[in-house]
């Protein structure tokens, strides 16, 4: 260890965590303890006393995480042992923050039970994810569904465009509504599209990697190999125009670009693709008024007209105010005013976390996301099969990119968009999709680790 640099030591340290289910159980107990502590602190600071109500928020997640753990013991013994505790930790923190916002609303006289709803949605999402782990013995099955995944993905994406069931919320047409229930199909579509991209690129990576002519010292791909990239670009812009959602559009294109690069190893795809994102963004900001507004609010949020304008920067600026108020150490759970930010439980849950847990908490939460992504990419590298590699890399990148877009929006690094913060934000579609990501990553890691053992 003595003559090892930090960059070598850190990954080795992380990798040295034993891949044992017992380790996972210990971590889950620790996570449950953290969750209980959060809930207790919130209730104490909001109501000055502690009652059994918090058990309703604590117990279901605790039990669900252990049921999930048992499923892994039976069905994926060799799977990664960090992913489940990390996802549970974030999910628990999300429940705590949403409960905390409920209490703040209750103090203002608005009864809302988003926290309880989130508990049930978590149970549902974890149950479906565990079921997938149970039923799907080998993720290679998914490869056979490459084109079915594509068709299903596109169909799912188009669902909100349908009359009657399609619904527009806050200006974006991303939801379907069946009676009381709303669902955001885009969350599931993104999984289907990752499966499709992984399958498609496994099949075509050799031809896409071929090098065309050399122009000005740069080797560029053959024109026809740019076809898929262009097609996805146009489709992403279509999402932007039809569903009015910048984030989803960027997410789909980004995932494809990342996988195209991983599959071919060709840097020019990345260069061209990033160029296309910038072009698309600039053109859209000129042609589409709502994109232009978003850009303006992003660049000049403190200008009074933007601050007070409809669809302006009020939410963004209030988020910044809250985070600044939290400072380095945070206002403490229950000590800040995250309820002053509109949609604090959904779009701006990260600002709420940042306000109450401070920069310290921000670093912790971002590090957990980074760790999940890092484990996912380790799984990708350790697998020998191309499809598995692409699938694992794609699923990991979905989480990383989504965090970057949504948290970057809250932090004013990129324009604000309507994506959800994985595991933290209130909402069932998002929870379901992200728990499915974890389930698939666990499945792939199980098979990767078994292949190493053999």
């Amino acid at each position: 260890m003595s003559n090892m640099s930090l960059t070598q030591a850190l990954p080795r340290l992380i990798n040295s965590v034993p891949r044992s289910r017992s380790m996972e159980a210990v971590l889950l107990f620790w996570v449950a303890g953290m969750h209980a502590f959060q809930l207790a602190q919130i209730q104490l600071s909001a109501t000055d006393n502690l009652d059994e109500q918090i058990l309703l928020y604590w117990t279901p997640l605790f039990l669900a995480s252990f049921v999930f753990h048992m499923v892994l013991r039976f069905k994926a013994k060799a799977a990664d042992s960090l992913l489940l505790p990390l996802a549970t930790l974030l999910n628990g923190l999300g429940i705590s923050m949403i409960y905390r916002l409920d209490l703040a609303e209750a103090a203002r006289g608005n009864e809302q039970l988003l926290g309880m709803r989130q508990v049930w949605l978590t149970l549902f999402a974890m149950a479906v994810a565990a079921l997938v782990l149970w039923v799907l013995k080998n993720h290679m099955t998914l490869k056979r569904f490459t084109y079915i995944a594509m068709a299903a993905g596109i169909l799912t994406l188009l669902l909100p465009m349908l009359p009657v069931i399609g619904a527009e919320i806050n200006g974006a047409r991303l939801w379907i509504r069946l009676g009381e229930l709303t669902f955001q199909p885009g969350e599931i579509a993104k999984l289907l599209l990752v499966i499709f991209f992984a399958g498609y690129l496994t099949k075509h990576r050799d031809s896409l990697s071929l090098i065309g002519k050399k122009i000005w010292g740069v080797r560029i791909p053959r024109a026809r190999d740019l076809g898929p990239l262009l097609l996805v670009w146009v489709a992403s812009l279509g999402v932007l125009v039809l569903q009015r959602d910048l984030g989803t559009s960027l997410l789909y294109f980004g995932i494809f670009l990342a996988l195209l690069y991983v599959a071919t190893g060709r840097g020019f795809y990345a260069a061209i693709g990033i160029g296309m994102i910038i072009t698309g963004g600039l053109v859209a900001s000129q042609l589409l008024s709502y994109v232009g507004n978003r850009f303006d609010s992003w660049l000049n949020p403190f200008v009074q007209e933007n601050y007070t304008g409809v669809g302006g920067s009020y939410q963004l600026v209030q988020g910044l105010f809250g985070m600044a108020h939290g400072g380095i150490l945070g206002a403490g759970l229950g000590g800040g005013y995250p309820q002053l930010v509109p949609l604090a439980a959904n779009d701006f849950i990260f600002a709420a976390v940042a306000e109450e847990l401070g920069l310290v908490g921000v670093f912790a939460v971002l590090s957990i996301y980074l760790l999940i992504t890092y484990r996912g990419l380790r799984i990708a590298i350790s697998h020998r099969d191309d499809f598995s590699r692409l699938l694992a890399a794609g699923l990991s990148f979905v989480i990383a990119l989504q965090v970057f877009i949504v948290v970057g929006g809250v932090l004013r690094l990129v324009p604000l968009t309507g994506l959800t913060t994985p595991f933290l934000a209130a909402g069932g579609s998002s929870l379901l999709a992200n728990w499915l990501v974890i389930a698939l990553l666990l499945r792939i890691s199980d098979s990767a680790n078994k292949q190493v053992i053999q």
Partner: protein, 478 residues
């Protein structure tokens, strides 16, 4: 493929580093500014959790909080209307202004200087106490300025030219900040509404913001400075002395305030024109210097720039692209020349302090509740707009203006006073604006005083209205 996955990992790491950096920027480096933004109500909501620090003048609170038995726990209290434009108000419903706003991070205990107090508060569970802000104000001078203005609208500023410390800053009318600090939404709001719609605009700090004033003859200090600095003029430079001057390219003409010639001969010196405050010679001088040279000198004095004292002083203006006639009018502070009293005080302090302006400053020091010194701004040089010799010549001319010239009402027996009055017109039939700016003792100034008084229907002069007020403050130097 492993290689490209590793590259992707590095790329993701970069994305997260960007997020870390932006979060750090917001929560550490920008935090004080964002928390201090008037639209951020969190700090004022926190006022019912922490004991907000006091604003002190000579160690006596002029704004402080005491415990009350309602939801907000602490009530803000203001000692006197005399300090209303300095403290500003701290209202649950109307936000905050002035020192309450600019120093809010310190007052609420949220400043980064109190980082260890914050940790201590977290660990011990006892809420943090806000820091106390001590102003540079001299209570005696502040009260004298308030009383001297009487029922007039206007402003008085007193500055120590050697440090930039503001010793008095009064804007009239003031207001009762206690009305806005009320914990009752309806009474706070109705008081605010009333102040806002009051025709006398009591919420405007006339000393540093507002619509600003025509400087009138006070601006002759700037024109004379530009002339002397150019090297082409001395106090003995001569100008044609007539009783009326036709403006170039126009049918209107200007005259001196006396409606006669300035001196007795064919020509008049710059010194005499300044001492007797004649418009025609200055119009001639201004046209000879030209718009550009006047602008350069104006900007050296700080015109066009904003200053933080820590409240923002609105930039004063010297107009652009003028015709010759407009340059002539600007040369005695008319046309579109507009100034804050603070800007005039800064110009005066350059003359008083051998050509060097110190940035005006209201904060003496900030001391935490456990008497730890958190901040003590040191004097900052704002600029050196004129040479020491120009400052000396202008001092002599201002001394003569008080001694034998147009500013005689500022004369104090036994002490040499340097000063300049102004009587600015604001359009046909509108009330005049009366100015006095000066310092004492002339040979080694301790105090710069600038007075502006908004006129009424009566026609009077800067010398009869403003100079006596300046005199009352300068007398304290003796």
């Amino acid at each position: 493929m492993s290689k490209s996955i590793r590259r992707l990992t590095s790329f993701i790491l970069l994305m997260f580093i960007a997020l870390f950096a932006f979060a750090t920027n917001i929560q550490v480096f920008q935090a004080d500014a964002l928390v201090g933004d008037g639209r951020n109500v969190r700090a004022s909501y926190d006022s019912y959790k922490t004991l907000r620090g006091s604003i002190l003048v000579e160690s006596t609170p002029v704004a402080s909080s005491y415990e009350v038995d309602d939801n907000f726990r602490y009530q803000r209290e203001y000692e006197s209307e005399i300090y209303s434009h300095l403290t500003g108000y701290f209202s649950l419903f109307q936000g905050s202004t002035a020192i309450e706003r600019e120093m809010s991070n310190f007052l609420s205990g949220q400043s980064s200087a109190q980082f260890f107090d914050q940790i201590n508060a977290v660990l011990s569970g006892t809420p943090i106490s806000g820091a106390n802000v001590e102003l540079t104000i001299d209570d005696g001078l502040q009260r004298a300025a308030w009383d001297a203005l009487g029922s007039s609208r206007g402003a008085v500023i007193a500055i120590d030219p050697r440090t930039g410390d503001i010793k008095a800053l009064v804007s009239k009318p003031g207001f009762d900040a206690n009305l806005l600090a009320s914990h009752s939404f309806s009474s706070s709001s109705s008081a605010y509404e009333e102040l806002l719609t009051d025709e006398a605009a009591p919420l405007i700090n006339r000393a540093i913001t507002g619509d600003q004033y025509h400087p009138g003859s006070v601006f002759k200090m700037v024109v004379a400075a530009a002339a002397l600095e150019s090297g082409n003029f001395t106090p003995e430079s001569e100008f044609e002395d007539s009783d009326s001057l036709r403006l170039p390219g126009s049918i209107s003409s200007i005259s001196n305030a006396s409606d006669t010639t300035c001196g007795d001969g064919e020509t008049v010196t710059l010194r005499t024109a300044f001492v007797k405050s004649c418009n025609i010679p200055f119009a001639e001088l201004g046209m000879q210097l030209g718009e550009n040279e006047l602008r350069v000198q104006s900007e050296l004095f700080g015109i066009g720039r904003s200053v933080e004292i820590p409240m923002s002083v609105s930039p004063s203006t010297f107009p652009q692209d003028m015709t010759e006639a407009q340059v002539a009018l600007s040369s005695f502070g008319q046309f579109n020349v507009r100034m804050t009293p603070m800007q005039v005080a800064m110009i005066t302090s350059a003359i008083a302090n051998q050509g060097v302006i110190y940035t005006p400053q209201l904060i003496d020091r900030v001391v935490s509740n456990n008497l730890e010194l958190l901040s003590e701004p040191s004097p900052q040089v704002f600029g050196s707009p004129i040479s020491q010799s120009t400052a000396g010549i202008l001092t002599q001319m201002m001394f003569e203006s008080v001694e034998i010239g147009s500013s005689g009402n500022a004369k104090i027996p036994g002490m040499a006073v340097a000063g300049k009055t102004g009587t600015a017109e604001n359009g046909f039939g509108d009330p005049f604006t009366y100015w006095f700016t000066g310092f004492a003792p002339a040979e080694n100034p301790d105090l710069v005083v600038t007075v502006v008084v908004e006129g009424d229907s009566q026609a009077r002069t800067g010398n009869t209205v403003a100079a006596p007020i300046g005199k009352r403050l300068l007398e304290s130097v003796r």
